[in-house]
Amino acid sequence: MAFPFALSLFPKPFTKMSGNMNLTLKVWRQKNTNDKGKFETYKAENISPDMSFLEMFDVVNERLIVEGKEPIAFDHDCREGICGSCSMYINGRPHGPNNGVTTCQLHMRSFKDGDIIVVEPWRSAAFPVIKDLAVDRSSFDRIQAAGGFISVNTGNAQDANSLPIPKNDADESFAAAACIGCGACVAACKNSSAMLFVGAKVTQFALLPQGKPEATQRVLAMVNQMDAEGFGSCTNTGACSAECPKEISLSVIARMNREYLSAQLFAE
């Protein structure tokens, strides 16, 4: 059996060389958190439309390494749109031009020969740049640690089917739980608000009977932590939801506000 990436072995490689592209990249380079940073220009040549955006970056980096230059640092891992690592701000949009897609799932067929592509890291005070396009999103973890859980120790659970949950509630809860924690919502928001992210977790639990007993503490703790991390407020623009690669609905913010309001009333 021939090896998959030795395609030159095949008579007709189906990466159409003729359909390949030459692109110009303007990429944010920043040595570390304290560095000022600046844009650098790179050529990306002979790029196949079947490549993912990150594979295009691999090609650029491979050349930089061989030329003795420093490759561009960026976060990535699963490359199948679920881990939430990748975080590029492409031509002014988090995860690039397509809706409902992470950077790793963005393919070069969405671009055309001669395009100039501007790539920046997420921009938010709560997400300091670590290097180039990689940012520190640990603020998200701290919000989750403040209240993003149901307090149940291992071994305390009753039989799973002893708690029927209406299908619609379960589905809606799942839709909110699909958040991958990438931070595109924050990057998209002019206020750097994290309301969509926090709202998604609050909504997932608010819709489930298991989550009810500590709903009050949960929403208060998570919102307080969100504020402490320096995220901005929501002004209902909706860019977060529009740019969310998992298309989390804006209604999670409404639900969080409702939960928060009633929590404040009951907490008094």
């Binding site: 059996m1 030159s8 079947d50 003795g68 640092a73 881990c83 393919h107 640990s138 029927p164 379960a170």
Partner: protein, 667 residues
């Protein structure tokens, strides 16, 4: 004789765990606080173990190389998790799950471990639901199930095609709760680069802070490696880019035995390679085989026409399609286990029936079930007596979308083709590794105090893992096994004070790690790390992949040795050590993969039989099925490293007292 004592408890199979569990020594709460446990890896096994141990009162540190514990690669598991709940009333039981798993593993797993896995499977589902994991449900509000390969019951619980994500977020929420309570200290963006052994016991790790590049020493009374599998040794696999063998390999180099390294799972349904830029492969969940039928054309002229773009899969009439799995395995059909399905695809493609330009793809087709199964169901529900074809398609599409929507979207993103309209094209790819660190019944390696959980160990899946069993094993190990079995060791450690990390052994190990890092930068070669990784991957895939033979393996071993030599002479690692440096991380991992690759080939060469994912061309039946040699190879091959490139084989005999071993048949 053998250094390997599996410590399987005595007694009848269905009482071993219950009885043993209630006799393991306990640690009282006051002592637990003074016992420190290091957990490396934050996937299902790591997060669930860390959360549970912290709940019990132990003092826990968790390390992961990702920027958040939530991004461990368990997140990408799609299809589901098995549990012997018998909610579908289809005759499932603990025994059946046990039996299916042993048989699925081609009789190369331990009975004791697998039975325990089946026993605790139900509790996992209970725990996850209690945590708020939004599993799929029926309209009555109860949990929904589907089928996976190698079984004839519906025991797989799922959350659309994102089950791994939802389970991991559940475990991550439990972990976060303990972080918030101060019981767990989390070290994200930290990579373990060695273990520290003191007086024959594992007492800590050396980790690199990936942001600052600083090496750190951490003490633990026990160290748990929950670091996943090593599929990336093939360069192209469904693993995440960062998935690596380093933690397990460092432990191996410090004395832990590596068991059955050649048992690799090649998953039948992945998106075919699109070009030489390919950096990873994407799985299309096995759950799709519930509703998708796998086929290639019967006629060569149709194959030619498809490859030339003159015909589409949907143009081929029913009678000219070869549903080869249904033809060869009528009892299980499209739901045969992964190793069987992969080999069958390879057989058809090797015979010239592959349906893409490289000849390495087969169809996975939903059209008939979409229309005639789901379309009809919905039409009936809506009271439409004579639905049109268009209506059937429309209705069926909605159901398929709900079941597999995210997978279909992903397929479209990657290939640019809409699988609702034309059949998917798929081909096998490396997905999971059944081999791993040798562990006993307590999940302890042969180094005292060092444990391996989840995919990082070897214990439960034999030579082939069944679908939806990886999530089950990861969570079983973390939630329901290690919290008990670790007591057997830690109860003896209550008198051990925390060892200061300025002790000689820590300093020496750190220096060795530092020396290796310095060496990378000193080489200043001409080739990137990826160059070597791709070369290694190509050899592994061609000679130690879906089919292996003696000649190929011997050649591969010699080639890999050459790669190792060249790597250490000519690799280029840019930047420096005291900064965020992804290339350095890769270099560290690939150096270990090269050493592992050689061992995998040696193990494959040693095993003169075919079993599960290990298929030696010399050992097959007339029908091309795997031919085991139970007389000579019914053992776990555990390798002890003497030095790089030199190993000693230890054997742990597998004893079957409850299951009669037989030629595996899915016909």
């Amino acid at each position: 004789m053998s250094k390997l004592d599996s410590k399987i408890p005595e007694g009848p199979i269905d009482q071993k765990w219950t009885k043993y569990k209630s006799t393991i020594p306990l640690v009282n709460p006051a002592n637990k606080r003074h016992l420190e446990v290091i957990v490396v890896g934050s996937g299902l096994a790591g997060s669930s173990a860390a959360a549970t141990l912290a709940e019990m009162g132990y003092s826990v540190k968790v390390f992961c190389f990702q920027d958040s514990a939530r991004r461990a690669h368990s997140i990408a598991a799609q299809g589901g998790i098995n549990a012997a709940k018998n909610y579908q009333n289809d005759g499932d039981s603990v025994y059946r799950l046990f039996y299916d798993t042993i048989k699925g593993g081609d009789y190369r797993a331990r009975e004791g471990n697998v039975h325990r896995l089946a026993e605790v499977s139900g509790s996992i589902i209970d725990q996850c639901v209690a945590q708020g994991v939004p599993f799929a449900r029926e309209y009555g509000g109860l949990l929904s199930n589907r089928s996976f390969g190698g079984t004839q019951v519906q025991r797989t619980f799922y959350a659309a095609g994102q089950t791994g994500q939802q389970l991991l977020l559940g475990a991550y929420s439990g972990l976060n709760r303990q972080i918030g309570l101060g019981n767990v200290k989390m070290y994200a963006r930290h990579e373990m680069l060695d273990i520290v052994n003191i007086d024959g016991k594992c007492r800590g790790i050396i980790a690199r802070d990936l942001v600052t590049g600083k090496l750190e020493r951490h003490f633990g009374h026990a160290v748990l490696l929950c670091t996943g599998g090593y599929g990336n040794v093939f360069y192209l696999s469904t693993n995440a880019m960062g998935s690596n063998v380093t933690a397990a390999w460092k432990a191996h180099k410090r004395g832990a035995m590596f068991a059955n390294p050649c048992y690799t799972q090649i998953h039948p349904t992945c998106i075919p390679v699109s070009g030489d830029h390919q950096s990873k492969l994407t799985l299309m969940s096995e759950s799709l085989r519930n509703d998708g039928r796998i086929w290639v054309p019967k006629k060569k002229e149709d194959v030619e026409a498809i490859r030339a773009g003159k015909k589409k899969g949907s143009d081929i009439p029913e009678e000219d399609r070869d549903y080869y799995l249904e033809r060869r395995y009528p009892a299980f059909g499209n739901l045969v286990p992964r190793d069987v399905a992969s080999r069958a695809s390879k057989e058809r493609c090797d015979a010239g029936y592959g349906v893409n330009k490289t000849g390495e793809a087969v169809y996975l087709d939903f059209a008939s079930n979409m229309k005639y199964k789901y379309g009809k169901q919905v039409a009936t529900l809506k009271g439409i007596a004579n639905p049109t074809e268009a209506q059937l398609t429309e209705f069926g599409k909605e159901v398929v979308k709900e079941k597999y929507g995210n997978l279909f979207d992903m397929y479209k993103q990657i290939t640019g083709e809409d699988p609702y309209e034309i059949p998917m094209m798929i081909y096998p790819a490396v997905h999971y590794t059944m081999g791993g660190l040798w562990v006993d019944y307590n999940l302890m390696t042969n180094i005292e105090g060092l444990y391996a959980l989840g995919e990082a160990n070897f214990s439960d899946h034999g030579a082939n893992r069944l679908g939806a069993s990886a999530l089950m094993q990861g969570l079983a190990d973390g939630y329901f096994v290690i919290p008990y079995t670790i007591g057997a060791y830690l109860s003896k450690e209550i008198g051990t004070k925390a060892i200061p990390t300025d002790k000689e052994e820590f300093a020496k190990t750190e220096q060795e790690v530092q020396d290796r890092i310095n060496k990378f930068f000193a080489i200043k070669g001409t080739k990137s790390v990826d160059y070597f990784h791709k070369r290694l991957g190509k050899i592994m895939w061609e000679k130690c992949g879906m089919a292996r033979n003696k000649e190929g393996l011997e050649w591969a071993i010699a080639e890999i040795q050459k790669i190792r030599e060249e790597f250490w002479k000519d690799v280029r690692v840019p930047g420096d050590a005291n900064e965020f440096n992804p290339e350095l991380e890769k270099a560290n991992r690939v150096a270990d993969f090269i050493e592992l690759g050689e061992l995998m080939c040696k193990d494959a060469l040693n095993r003169n039989e075919s079993c599960g994912g290990h298929f030696r061309e010399e050992f097959q039946t007339e029908e091309g099925e795997a031919m085991r040699d139970d007389e000579n190879y019914k053992y776990v091959a555990a390798w002890e490293m003497k030095e790089v490139g030199n190993w000693e084989l230890h054997k742990e005999d597998l004893i079957y007292e409850n299951i009669k071993i037989a030629q595996r048949s899915y016909k």
